[in-house]
C-alpha cells in the first residue's frame, strides 16, 4: 500500500512536470488571450475546463499555472534548503558560540507564525512571483537547519570524518564532501513536504489578494477570480482547487514514502 501511494505521487508529479514543460505545446490557446464574447463558457470540447470571466481558456491557464506552482514550490523551498543546510551544518560542525548564535536565531524565527511573517514582509515589498519565492525561502529554512545540524552532530564524531581532519582536509571540504551528503536524507524529505507547503502558501496568499498578480495565471489567483463568480461558474473554482489539492497530495505522498524509506524502523 505504502509503495503504491508513493508511486501514485511520483506519477502525478511527473505528469505535472511534463505539463509544465510542454505547456505551450499542449495548450490550445494563449493563456492571456482575451475574448469577451466567450466569457464564462462551461467545459466543452473546445474548452476542456471552460473559460473565465474574460473568455480566456481555463485549461490553458491551468497548464501555465502549473509552471508557476512548481517554480514557486521548488525555488522557494530550494532557497530555504540552501540557507538551512548552510547554517545548520556550520552550526553543527563548529559548535560552541557559532552554534548557539545560529540556533538561537532559528529559535527566534520559529516563534513567528510563518504566515504572519510572510504577510508582514509582503506588506513591505509587495506581491510578485519573485518576492513570494524569496520570502517563503527566507522564512522556512529553520526546520531544515535543525535537521542537518542534528545529523552532523552525530556524523562528525565518525571515524572517517576524524580521519579527514587528521589528514588536514579543510573544514569546507569536510562539511561539503563528508557531512552534508551523508546527512541530507531528512532534509530531502523535508524539502518534498516543503514544496507542498509552499504551493498551499501561495494559494492562501492569492486568496488574500497578496499572491502572484494577474495576468500571470497561478492556480491561486485563478481560484481567487473564481470566487467572484461562485454560483455561475463552478468550473472556475473547481479546477484550480482540485489542481492544488492533487499536487499537494502528490508531494506529500512522495515525502511520506521517502521518509519511510529513510527510516525503516517504522513500517
Amino acid at each position: 500500500m505504502k509503495n503504491k501511494l508513493m508511486l501514485t505521487g511520483v506519477i502525478i508529479i511527473i505528469l505535472l512536470i511534463l505539463a509544465a514543460v510542454f505547456a505551450p505545446k499542449i495548450a490550445k490557446y494563449d493563456p492571456t488571450y482575451i475574448n469577451i464574447k466567450e466569457a464564462l463558457l462551461p467545459p466543452s470540447e473546445e474548452h476542456l475546463m471552460g473559460t473565465d470571466m474574460l473568455g480566456r481558456d481555463l485549461f490553458s491557464r491551468m497548464l501555465f499555472g502549473s509552471r508557476i506552482a512548481l517554480t514557486i514550490g521548488i525555488v522557494a523551498v530550494g532557497l530555504a534548503a540552501v540557507i538551512g543546510v548552510a547554517l545548520g551544518s556550520i552550526a553543527g560542525y563548529f559548535g560552541g558560540k557559532i552554534d548557539s548564535v545560529i540556533m538561537r536565531f532559528a529559535d527566534i524565527m520559529l516563534c513567528f507564525p510563518a504566515f504572519f511573517l510572510i504577510l508582514a514582509v509582503i506588506a513591505v515589498v509587495g506581491p510578485s512571483i519573485f518576492n513570494i519565492m524569496i520570502i517563503i525561502g527566507l522564512t522556512s529554512w529553520m526546520g531544515m537547519a535543525r535537521l542537518i545540524r542534528a545529523e552532523i552532530l552525530t556524523l562528525k564524531t565518525r571515524d572517517y570524518v576524524l580521519c579527514s581532519r587528521v589528514l588536514g582536509a579543510s573544514n569546507f571540504f569536510i562539511i561539503t564532501k563528508h557531512l552534508i551528503p551523508n546527512g541530507i536524507g531528512p532534509v530531502l524529505v523535508s524539502f518534498v513536504f516543503g514544496v507542498a507547503g509552499a504551493i498551499l502558501m501561495e494559494a492562501g496568499l492569492s486568496f488574500l489578494g497578496l499572491g502572484v498578480q494577474p495576468p500571470d495565471p497561478s492556480w491561486g489567483n485563478i481560484l481567487m477570480e473564481g470566487k467572484a463568480v461562485l454560483g455561475v461558474g463552478w468550473w472556475v473554482i473547481l479546477f484550480p482547487g482540485l489542481a492544488i489539492l492533487i499536487t499537494v497530495l502528490a508531494f506529500n505522498l512522495l515525502g511520506e514514502g521517502l521518509r519511510d524509506a529513510l527510516n525503516p524502523r517504522i513500517k
Binding site: M1, L5, R104, F105, D107, I108, M109, L110, C111, F112, P113, A114, F115, F116, L117, L119, A120, V121, I122, A123, V124, V125, A196, L200, A203, G204, F207, L208, L210, L223, K227, L230, I237, G241, I244, L245, I246, T247, V248, L249, N252, L253, E256, R265, I266
Partner: protein
C-alpha cells in the same frame, strides 16, 4: 528567554522598516482634496520623520511598558486593538486544539492497532486529503453547502444580530452554531497531522521493550495499550502540539477572513493592506509571545506526563 524576546522585537521592527513609502499614505486615499501637507502632518504625528534607530529605541522602550504605539489607521493604541481581537482568536484556537486532540488521538490509535485494516486505509487517505486541501477553498465550499444551499448554519460572523436579547443557553447555542465551520476548517490540517503522528508514535512505542515486557507479563491487552503504550506515545504529541501553535495562528488569518471573524488574524490582514506598521509589529510580537507561551505549557505538560523528567536546580 531575554535574548529571544529581544530578537523577536528586532526582527519585527526590521521587517517592517524595509519598506519604501510611508503608512500614512493610505489614510489619504486618492482624493483630489487631500493635500501633501495633510500627509506631512500625519507623518509628524506618528514620529515617522525621525531616523530609524531612534524610532526603534523609542519603540522598544515603550514595549517594556506594553505600549506598542498607536495605529496609523485610527490613532488608537495598538495594544487596545490587539486586546479586543485576541480573545476570539484564542477561543477558536483553543477549541481547535481540543478538537484536534479528541479526534486525532483515537483515530491514530485505531489506525496503529489495526494497521492495514480498512479503517487504517480510509483514515490514511482522509489524512492526506486533509493535509492537501486549501483551507479557504474548503471553507467556501462548506459555506455554500451548509450556509446557502441547506441553510442550516450561518454564513459568517460569530454571533447573530440579536445576540444580546438571547438568554445564556441560547447565547451558547448561537455562538456554537457560528463556530462550527470555522473551527472545523481551522482544525482539519491539525487533525490530519496529529492522527498521523499519533499513529507513528503508537507504532514505534509498540516495539519498545517495556511493552513487550508488559505483554509477556500477561497484562490484559487493554491495559497494555491504555496504561503503557498510550502514555508513552502521547509524550511526543504534547511537544508537537505546543510547537503547532504558530501553524494554528497562521491558519486563523484565512479562516477569520472567510468567516468574517473579528480576531487577531483578520486584524493582521487589515493592517497589512493598510500598512499599519505599528499594528503589524504588535501582532508579530504578540503571536511570537504566544508561541513561547505554548512551548512553555507543553514543557510543563511534558514534565507532568513523564515522571522521568523533573526540573532540578
Amino acid at each position: 528567554m531575554i535574548p529571544i524576546l529581544f530578537g523577536i522585537t528586532l526582527i519585527s521592527f526590521a521587517v517592517i522598516h524595509m519598506a519604501p513609502g510611508k503608512p500614512t499614505d493610505l489614510v489619504t486615499q486618492l482624493n483630489p482634496k487631500v493635500s501633501m501637507e495633510a500627509r506631512e502632518k500625519l507623518n509628524k504625528i506618528h514620529g515617522l520623520d525621525k531616523p530609524l534607530y531612534v524610532q526603534y529605541l523609542d519603540w522598544i522602550k515603550k514595549i517594556g511598558r506594553l505600549d506598542f504605539g498607536k495605529s496609523f489607521a485610527d490613532s488608537r493604541p495598538v495594544i487596545d486593538k490587539i486586546a479586543e481581537r485576541l480573545p476570539i482568536t484564542l477561543l477558536i484556537n483553543v477549541l481547535s486544539i481540543f478538537i484536534i486532540f479528541i479526534v486525532s488521538i483515537p483515530v491514530g490509535i485505531k489506525s496503529a492497532l489495526r494497521k492495514g485494516a480498512p479503517f487504517d486505509k480510509i483514515s490514511t487517505v482522509a489524512v492526506f486529503i486533509g493535509f492537501a486541501i486549501p483551507s479557504f477553498w474548503l471553507a467556501l465550499l462548506l459555506i455554500s453547502f451548509f450556509g446557502v444551499h441547506l441553510g442550516i448554519l450561518p454564513v459568517s460572523g460569530i454571533v447573530s444580530l440579536d445576540f444580546e436579547k438571547l438568554n445564556l443557553l441560547q447565547k451558547i447555542f448561537d455562538l456554537s452554531r457560528h463556530l462550527i465551520l470555522p473551527v472545523f476548517v481551522l482544525s482539519i490540517g491539525g487533525i490530519a497531522g496529529f492522527s498521523r503522528y499519533m499513529r507513528q508514535s503508537m507504532l514505534s512505542v509498540e516495539h519498545q521493550d517495556y511493552i513487550r515486557t508488559a505483554r509477556a507479563k500477561g497484562l490484559p491487552e487493554k491495559e497494555v495499550i491504555y496504561r503503557h503504550a498510550l502514555k508513552n506515545a502521547l509524550l511526543p504529541i504534547i511537544t508537537i502540539l505546543g510547537l503547532s501553535i504558530p501553524a494554528l495562528l497562521s491558519g486563523s488569518v484565512i479562516v477569520e477572513k472567510v468567516f468574517s471573524i473579528p480576531g487577531m488574524g483578520l486584524l493582521m490582514f487589515e493592517s497589512v493592506f493598510m500598512r499599519d506598521y505599528n499594528v503589524i509589529m504588535g501582532i508579530l510580537i504578540v503571536s511570537a509571545f504566544l508561541t513561547l507561551l505554548g512551548n512553555l505549557l507543553a514543557d510543563i505538560a511534558y514534565v507532568y506526563a513523564d515522571p522521568r523528567i523533573r526540573y532540578e536546580k
